[in-house]
C-alpha cells in the first residue's frame, strides 16, 4: 500500500501538457489525494471549464500512477472552490518566467463588477513586466492569448511578443 505523501511526490513529476515546465501540483489543480485500501483517489479541479488539456491531464495522472505500480486509480472532479491562479506555487511562477510566460500578478482578477465599471472593463493599465528583458514598457495585444488562461502581450523595449498568465 502506498502513502498519500508518496502519491503527491509522484504527481509532482507529472507535467502540465500545455506548459511542460510546470507540474500538475505546481499548478495547484490536484486538490486531494486519498488512499482507500488498494485504490488511490486523486481529486482534480479543472483550470478553465473548456480547457482541452483537462482530459489529457487526467490521462497523464492515471498513467503516471500505473507506471509506479498502482493498479487501482480513481479520478474525481471537484469544481468548488473554483481553481485560481493564487494556487500556483512560487517556484512555478519562476519556472513560467524562465519559459517566457509572464506569471500572474495576484489580485488583478477580472471582476466584471458593476460599479465604476468602464475603467475596469476597458482594462485600466496593468503593468506586466516582459519575461524576456524585464522591461515594464509592455502592451496588451489581446485579452486572450494562445490558450484561454493567457493574454497576448508585446514588449516595447525588446519587441518580443509574450504570453501573460492571467489572474483568475
Amino acid at each position: 500500500m502506498v502513502s498519500e505523501a508518496q502519491v503527491w511526490d509522484w504527481l509532482s513529476e507529472v507535467p502540465d501538457p500545455e506548459i511542460p515546465v510546470i507540474s500538475v501540483t505546481d499548478l495547484g489543480i490536484v486538490r486531494d489525494v486519498t488512499v482507500e485500501g488498494e485504490t488511490v483517489v486523486v481529486t482534480v479541479t479543472p483550470t478553465y471549464s473548456g480547457c482541452p488539456a483537462t482530459s489529457v491531464i487526467n490521462f497523464e495522472i492515471e498513467k503516471a500512477l500505473r507506471d509506479k505500480g498502482v493498479a487501482d486509480v480513481r479520478l474525481e472532479r471537484q469544481l468548488d472552490p473554483p481553481w485560481t491562479t493564487d494556487w500556483l506555487k512560487p517556484e512555478a511562477r519562476e519556472k513560467l518566467r524562465a519559459y517566457g510566460i509572464a506569471p500572474p500578478i495576484d489580485g488583478t482578477r477580472a471582476e466584471g463588477v458593476v460599479e465604476g465599471r468602464i475603467k475596469r472593463l476597458t482594462g485600466a493599465a496593468l503593468v506586466v513586466p516582459c519575461p524576456h528583458c524585464g522591461s515594464e514598457d509592455t502592451q496588451k495585444v489581446s485579452q486572450f492569448g494562445s490558450t484561454p488562461c493567457k493574454a497576448a502581450y508585446q514588449c516595447r523595449s525588446c519587441l518580443e511578443p509574450f504570453d501573460y498568465f492571467k489572474c483568475i
Binding site: 468548488d80 473554483p82 466584471g112 468602464i118 486572450f144 492569448g145 490558450t147 483568475i168
Partner: protein, 256 residues
Amino acid sequence: MEAVVDLDAALFEGLCRLGDSTLVLGHRVSEWCGHAPVLEEDIALANMALDLIGQTQLWLGLAGEVEGKGRDADALAFRRDVWEFRNLLLVERPNGDFGQTLMRQFLFDAWHQPMLKALEGSNDARIAEIAAKAGREVAYHLERSADLVIRLGDGTEESHKRMQTALDKLWPYTGEMLTSDETDRALAEAGIMAAPDSIRPTWESLVGEVLDEATLTAPEGAYLHKGGKQGTHSEHLGHMLATMQWLQRAYPDATW
C-alpha cells in the same frame, strides 16, 4: 408530490436554457475560427468559444443528471432537434460582420455575468459551483467585449456605423433574456435560479454606460422578439444545428 415533479421539470428546462445558450453562442463564435479580421482576434474568439462550450458541458451535464433518462451533455447537444433547444434567440443570430458578432457578445455578456453572479447564490450547490466557475471566465469575456464595443463605436466613421447597425439589428432580441416566464418564476421562488427580470436593472445600467462611452444609441420602442426559451426559434438555428450535429446524426455514437 405533484409540485416536486413540476419543479424537477422546471429545473431541466432552466438548465437547458443556460446550457443551450452557451452552446449555441459557443458554436456561432467558433464559426469565426480561421476567418477573423486579425490573428489575435481569431485566437480570442476561439478561446471564448472554448470557454462557452466547456460551460455547456457543465450545464447540460447537470441537465441530463436532473432529467434522469441517461442523456449526457453530448446526447443533449447532438441528439435533440431544433424545437427542443431552449437558447435565447439573440445567440442564434448569424455572425454577420465582426461588429455584429462583437455587439451580440457584449449584449449577452452584460446579462451572462450578473446572471452567473446571482446563480452563485442558488440553494442548489451543483448550480452554485458551476456558476462560480463560469463566472470567473465570463468576467474576462465581458471586459473584452465592452472594451471593443467602446473602441469600435467611438472609433472611425466606418466602425461607428457598423456598430450602430449591429445594435439596431440585435436590440429587439435582448428583451427575452430580461423577461421571466412561469418556469423562471417557479425556479426563482424555490431559490434555485435567479429570475431573468431581476437582472434587468444591472443589465440596463451596464449596457447604458458602455453604449454612452461608445457614442452609440439604443433604438427606442423596438418590438421585442421572444420564444427561444420555449423552443420557438428563427430559421437560423436549424441551419446551424445541421452543421453542428451532422456527424452524430450520420454516424450515431461514432468514436475514433
